[in-house]
Subunit: 190 residues, 3 copies
């Protein structure tokens, strides 16, 4: 009887050891949950300086190819334009809604034959709702309905976050205004 | 007696199974330690090219808004200036201390109505002390006493690191020199 | 007999508890595997616009120091040049091989006294093989045979990836063409 008991205890020991070893040792391939630990939907609004809108402009051309300048986006799909921005963030798609944070960073148009951009920017929050930052980077093939970029880090309320953000062009007016909807899904929360 | 024994063994099995399942399956929300696994304090020194300091300059204006140029930082709080840098890193706040690495990357001034920057850069080490790199990105609202940015990755001695770095402006002289203190806290070490 | 049994069960409980506590609580320092969970080798090809190669050019100078321009890379090791690119990715080192994706982003030359760059870019895939993006950032001291940068995130097939990419200059022709070999090692796969 006793040896049977010991045997079952021994098997339990082996089973747990294997489970725990699995937890520690393997390259982390199959384990992670794809259920977000936090989600947010936000909008930001970009008004590009065009020589006539100094007061309203939230972004400005700072780099251009040899055939361009810093007041008008270059031809060839703006290939080579670098734009720096400080855009208001709102909870809905209304430019005049309460500003809950700022989207700060830059985008570059990086392709000759179609509109495509590359983005590096931060959502900066300092309100009763949120204090902290979310950092983003990634390609933005802006003719696609949705585009995924990476949440590469965060601070404050978003300490050490990682995730994926889906961008959608919610509206645009010529080459002066556009609005992006950002669906942020965090998969690493601390 | 035996069935009681079996019962207790069975309960143990259930408890551990639940614990282990918890370890594997849940979105990682509550588990992570906020105690750094590694800490460093470093300083870096930025001397901006102004047309007269070619030999000493460690950074240079490479982008500007329509109203700016590449020798003098633009008005409106330098909004739209892009600066590329290769700055010496020291262990203390003395520009003439031994250089332990280089801070290489860029910053952009991204706001019209206050000094604010966005940073993408790397600490590059190649000494007896450290070999490897630490990569950073984030917003730098430089009028704040402290600003947090993300450690987005690392290589060599800092392989796969992630964390948060706190920036402090340790000194500045007009628009030619500034020194940043960086408190790096790694929360993911490999 | 029974108490001996209970004792051994009790010890098992303690051992597993400690193991599981270890799994949850400690700063993640010693646990991670350095065996990649995924590896890829790819090449990308950069043809810099020089005023005469409009049709072929895949990249373009968009930022320059005060002493430079946007058609020719500046002297002093191109210090201060910002280049935006949309480069074809191939599986081997032949520029004319099938394009399997695009490398999109920018590099900056950031040092006066030697060729060194800083890179922020994305591999964009949309083929039968791969759909998704890989995001990179890091320093590229391009006179070194190999240089390590960080994989800071991914989307689609590369959802939430992190890792290290080793760059090698596979070929270059004057200041118009270069080819990089990229060995990507993912250490976080989901």
């Amino acid at each position: 009887m006793q040896s049977k008991q010991q045997l079952s205890t021994f098997f339990l020991f082996i089973i747990f050891s294997l489970l725990i070893l699995g937890c520690f040792s393997s390259p982390r391939k199959t384990i992670r949950s794809r259920k977000p630990c936090k989600e947010m939907v936000l909008y930001f609004h970009d008004i590009i300086y065009n020589g006539h809108n100094e007061k309203n402009a939230t972004s400005v051309i700072v780099g251009a190819p040899a055939w361009g300048n810093h007041t008008i986006l270059a031809n060839k799909n703006h290939f080579g334009n670098v734009v720096v921005f400080d855009d208001p963030i709102t909870l809905d798609n209304n430019l005049h809604s309460q500003v809950v944070g700022r989207a700060q960073g830059f985008y570059i148009y990086d392709k000759q034959d179609i509109f495509t951009a590359w983005l590096g920017f931060t959502f900066v929050f300092n309100s009763s709702e949120h204090v902290g930052t979310i950092n983003f980077a990634g390609a933005d093939p802006l003719m696609n309905k949705t585009r995924d970029i990476s949440v590469i880090g965060g601070t404050g309320d978003f300490f050490m976050s990682r995730g994926v953000a889906t961008l959608m062009t919610d509206a645009f007016e010529g080459e002066v205004y556009f609005r992006l909807r950002v669906d942020i899904k965090f998969y690493e929360c601390w």
